[in-house]
């Protein structure tokens, strides 16, 4: 994934969590960022708007790190009909 793409996802997470974008690095877990289940679905909602994608419930349940989230969003964006 490109740095620019990762930064865009990190920006959405940071904005939703009201934390600094610099703190949202790929190796961070949600637990480290104090993202709980309700925060998680709030972030997914913001990501869906930002990238115009539909994130399935099942994926939402298993993702636990910034890297998994960024990769997941990247896949969904790539799969979007042009």
């Amino acid at each position: 994934m490109s740095d620019e793409f990762a930064a865009r996802v990190a920006g959405v997470i940071a904005k939703t969590q009201k934390i600094s974008p610099e703190s949202v690095t790929l190796d961070k877990t949600f637990e480290e960022l104090k993202i709980d289940s309700l925060d998680g679905i709030n972030i997914l909602f913001a990501l869906e708007s930002e990238f115009d994608i539909d994130i399935p419930d099942e994926a939402a349940r298993t993702i636990k790190t910034v890297r998994e989230m960024t990769e997941g969003v990247e896949k969904l964006v790539a799969a979007k009909p042009v």
Partner: protein, 403 residues
């Protein structure tokens, strides 16, 4: 002040199975699920296609056309269930005694479908909104209508504690009758959550199952929304017996607690405190309880947390308890859930038939209780409990006793 024993002498239910308690209980005892493809919204509008709608409910079978227009569906449900409960109880409110009777109803979201419809029209360019919007939307619409229709002029109000609303309502009515504040109460709850706006909000919560509701099952994928109403008639046991009324059972205890923890994540300790409080209020030993109608929503978090809470309260006796979630059949009717489940629990005690957890497929070590999978069980029990736990961390538990 002497505490009086409190009997339930009438029950009314609107559910996916029909407009009567009989329709409801027949389905519960048979393990019939009312979960079907949703008809309230166009197919494909939501990530989850199924719900437990009261699809056969026709307001015009119960109301004049003009009356029906004054009531949102959630209030219509409340009135229909209250009429059935009072009629079944055979109780007559004597001339001049209306002030000694109470109504306490529960609803999570009131007339939200009316709000959804009217606001949508406004934002689409309509400049005006129907003057019936406010009286249809208000949470106490059902309670007020029942009051007027039945001449009940004592304490009449509505509580809104999300999924615990009904148990909070029934519990407060129970205490009022027990303590002699009133001699009669109609208590329960109603909900009609099927508007596109509200369903979309549930979709965003990511807790609704894409298939069906499988409480305590390892492959459970969430709750299924339901709708309807349950209403109970409460009287002092002595008075009920004196007039030869049919007694479904006693409400014996009520306990409530707040997790003070998280908006949506349940906490076992909070749930356990409400259960202990209800047992203490009932003067019942945990070992005397034979059946728990669980909150059992079918979400990963609730069912495991509830199992832990039950184990914390009942210790080794938890392995001898039957615990079922009837939400597997009537869905999660939110503010009406506790009332539907109270009706099921009372019928189970009286008839010796324990309703099952339907749609159960696979044991989950995190939910290692006897969940009465898929088939009803016959058992003569004296005490039973019914749990409700709400978003916002509010817990309300009722304890029932066979009369």
């Amino acid at each position: 002040m002497t505490a009086r024993r409190v009997a339930v002498t009438g029950m009314g239910v609107v559910s996916p199975f029909g407009d009567t308690f009989g329709d409801f209980w027949t389905a519960m005892a048979a393990g019939t699920s009312g979960i079907r493809p949703m008809t309230s919204v166009p197919p494909g509008a939501l990530r989850f296609p199924n719900a437990a709608e009261a699809a056969g409910f026709d307001a015009l079978r119960h109301f004049e056309e003009k009356e029906a227009a004054m009531l949102d569906r959630f209030a219509q449900f409340a009135v229909v269930a209250a009429r059935e409960a009072v009629q079944a109880s055979g109780v007559k409110i004597a001339e001049g005694a209306g002030h000694r009777a109470a109504i306490v109803t529960g609803s999570c979201t009131g007339g939200q479908a009316t709000e959804d419809e009217n606001f949508r029209a406004l934002y689409a360019g309509n400049q005006r909104i129907s003057p019936l919007t406010i009286p249809r939307v208000m949470g106490n619409a059902g309670a007020s209508w029942i009051s007027r229709e039945m001449g009940i002029t004592g304490p009449v109000y509505t509580v809104s504690t999300a999924c615990s609303s009904s148990n909070h309502a029934i519990g407060q009515a129970f205490w009022m009758v027990r303590n002699g504040m009133v001699d009669l109460a109609v208590a329960g709850g109603s909900e009609a959550p099927f508007s596109l706006g509200f369903l979309k909000a549930w979709e965003a919560m990511r807790v609704v199952a894409p298939d069906t509701c499988r409480p305590f099952s390892k492959d459970r994928r969430g709750l299924i929304l339901g709708e309807g109403a349950g209403m109970l008639v409460l009287e002092p046991l002595e008075a009920a017996r004196a007039r030869g009324a049919q007694v479904w059972g006693e409400i014996a205890g009520f306990g409530m607690s707040s997790d003070a923890h998280h908006l949506t994540q349940p906490l076992a300790e909070g749930a356990a405190r409400a259960m202990r409080g209800a047992l203490e209020d009932a003067g019942a030993r945990p070992e005397a309880v034979g059946y728990i109608n669980a909150h059992g929503t079918g979400t990963v978090a609730n069912d495991a947390t509830e199992t832990a809470a039950i184990r914390a309260v009942f210790g080794a006796h938890a392995d001898r308890l039957m615990v079922s979630s009837t939400k597997s059949m009537h869905g999660h009717a939110l503010g009406a859930a506790g009332a539907l489940e109270a009706a099921a629990t009372l019928a189970a005690l009286r008839g010796g038939v324990i309703p099952p957890t339907a749609n159960y497929t696979e044991a989950d070590p995190a939910c290692d209780l006897d969940v009465v999978p898929n088939h009803h069980r016959e058992a003569e029990l004296e005490w039973a409990m019914s749990n409700t736990f709400a978003f916002g961390g509010l817990n309300a538990v009722l304890v029932f006793r066979r009369a």
